[in-house]
Symmetry: C3
Subunit: 213 residues, 3 copies
């Protein structure tokens, strides 16, 4: 129940960030709606397709699809106010990240998968909507370059497993993971924490052919 | 039967437009064939994977795959004549858009889905081949920026549902939708009709961090 | 058994090339791991999803996923030595290409598909990991522009089918295809053999609108 509410908040927030990305590329209204849907529902769809978990969420509950379309159109209307709402969006996005992660993790566990697959399912649900958005907008996905994001998704999965392992009820596990992951994300944004980067430069003389590796 | 003929015309036309896109990027023959296949068969594959509708069209009928490969190679041969055939291609592409939409819509209905999912399936079949083509060619997908295209696919789905709702036979529904959607697309091309665009610019001072939304 | 060893070598080598690509784009560690996993396991995942062959390889054997993550992190450590190992990597990559192709082809045949679908499955397994890597790094996929690569995958499939057709045992078929394909790839690299390119330029005056085709 709590998860359903968080899921609805999360897909709405993600749809609106997707719509803004489309607006930065001057797409038409259809493009805005498509990018919004992909951002909001793409992560879950990728997870379900890779795990063979049919029917997909939005096929079973088309109302979520309608919701994201409405959120996208609503974003077009209120775009001028959006810049004043940035901090609220960062918080909603953080909530969505952890909510998506928990949902993805739970589905994998329900299907009988172990820690590794459920961790991948959780992270995938949390971050691949944003990756697909950036691919469609022809960017290098931001998620690879900004403050702790996917790694917080991963740490939340560990927290979730530890809670289950130590015998907490499902409700408490969800609440604990949410609070833990959300706080981490807020701390990461506030202090601008980043993962170490891996910077690799080929020597100039080799750069032409080095792409063959 | 009519749909099969339209489908064959459509995948041939789409394969040839895909091959031309690959040629604009100076790809080798394999790249040309791959882009052609993705453009022609990618939309249906995305739909089938998301709906869990196995086996995929080209797995069941590999002859369609062979056809698109031949169309791609044929395009390389006649590339110099292609610029004189542009208006024919625009018409074939319009026919393909509506044909793909109807096929996608029908499959979703046969699987028991309602209006929302069948609309998504129709639009997805119609436009996602072109989106995948543009992603592989590293462009922002054109479909988001040009004259009415996906929206015509959507209106065609509505036409299809209305025809079914008012008790038309399947044949008449298909013919009506085809004529209606095709005419709309031709009108849109002729008058250069476009969807309104959503243009969103962050303030300069915020632009560095605004990507975090 | 032989194939399992080759598969493990191949995913390790592909993971390391993926990690280097991510390093060229200055991604953070998570991005490096994700690109490595997609490069190593993406080809097989695309094949399994399109053929409806569940569960996917890394879902059934999560240890392969752990292996690619470790290979990615290891690559970050030894990045400075990697430039001296380029020729070894080209050979491992060639081995991987043929190994992936054979595995993809075998799986399609086991599922009862014919020549066309098994050829597509083989090529897809061999090359689509690299294509996904390049899409995530926002490049036009290299596979379309460099020396014979996908075409060697295709010729290996033909070799495989001929061996089966002439009654060779599975072991001999695999060994023959490996030696044949690997030699071809080494020859192609050594002599810089390339597929003919298809270069298509619209006339200037038409170029603005020609994108509509």
């Amino acid at each position: 129940m709590l998860l359903t509410i968080i899921y609805i908040i999360a897909i709405t927030a993600e749809a609106m960030t997707g719509a803004l990305s489309a607006g930065r590329r001057s797409m038409d209204w259809f493009g805005v709606i498509l990018i919004a849907c992909v951002t909001a529902l793409g992560g879950g769809s990728v997870r379900d397709v890779l795990l063979g978990h049919y029917p997909l969420g939005w096929v079973k509950h088309p109302e979520y699809l309608v919701l994201t379309c409405c959120a996208a159109l609503f974003t077009i209307l209120i775009a001028n106010w959006m810049r004043h709402l940035r901090s609220i969006f960062l918080l909603l996005d953080a909530l969505g990240l952890i909510g998506f992660t928990i949902i993805g993790c739970q589905i994998a566990i329900q299907m009988g998968h172990g820690f590794v697959v459920s961790a991948v399912a959780g992270i995938m649900t949390g971050v691949s909507g944003g990756i697909l958005r950036d691919i469609l907008c022809n960017d290098v996905p931001l998620v690879f370059r900004r403050e702790l994001y996917a790694s917080i998704s991963f740490v939340s999965v560990i927290c979730y497993w530890l809670c289950i392992h130590f015998g907490l009820t499902l409700e408490w596990t969800v609440v604990t993971t949410l609070v833990f992951g959300f706080s981490l994300r807020v701390i990461a944004i506030y202090f601008g924490l980043e993962m170490p980067k891996f910077i690799y430069q080929d020597d100039d003389e080799q750069s032409a052919s080095s792409k063959d590796i």
